[in-house]
Symmetry: C2
């Protein structure tokens, strides 16, 4: 299975999911999938949040809270779920405000080791 196929499944199987991306913490994307008719700029979202994620990793280290596995952000206009795949890469899914956050979290948890194998 290819990167894009895994990202496609994440988007198509979750109600309200708009787009998914596999990206490095340096802001460089490996692959992305966008639902038809959706104009979400998932690359831009990934780039903006990747620096926040790095800050979060740093805070968790200071707190000795262990590795950051997952972060969910709910804003006025949508939701974003991020899950670490390796030390260098993460996946991110963008959803509408009514999207199924729980299912996105669940499917990303199962997709993460599959992506790790491919990297």
């Amino acid at each position: 299975m290819e990167f894009k196929e895994i990202l496609r499944e994440l988007v198509e199987r979750v109600d309200g999911a708009r787009a998914a991306i596999l990206m490095g913490y340096d802001g460089i994307a490996i692959d992305e999938y966008r639902k038809e008719g959706v104009d979400t700029d998932i690359q831009l979202i990934g780039i903006e949040y990747s620096s926040v994620l790095k800050e979060m990793k740093r805070a968790s280290e200071i707190l000795e809270a262990g590795e950051v596995a997952e972060v969910s952000i709910v804003t006025g206009k949508g939701m974003v779920v991020v899950r670490g795949v390796t030390d260098e890469y993460f996946i991110m899914v963008s959803l509408t405000v009514e999207g199924n956050l729980g299912k996105a979290r669940y499917l990303m948890k199962t997709a993460s080791p599959k992506l790790k194998e491919l990297l």
Copy 2:
């Protein structure tokens, strides 16, 4: 109802919840509640993540994603849910890795307007 009573309810009604805090984005706490026998330093967690939250607000502004309403962070050793109460204050709940994240999110959503009224 007082601040501490609302925080106490958040902790006692959620499986796996350890502590809750009402804090300013400047890192200064108004009140906190810790489950008996728990040694979680919720003040320190709040202070460390408050700077990350400010970064996240900034990223969301750039993305025109609307106000950051809620952030959940899952690490190797636990979970943290943060919800904005006003522009200046947020509530944060710390949970064990097996904690009920969904219930914490739900109760924080209902507690937020109550806390806002008291502020």
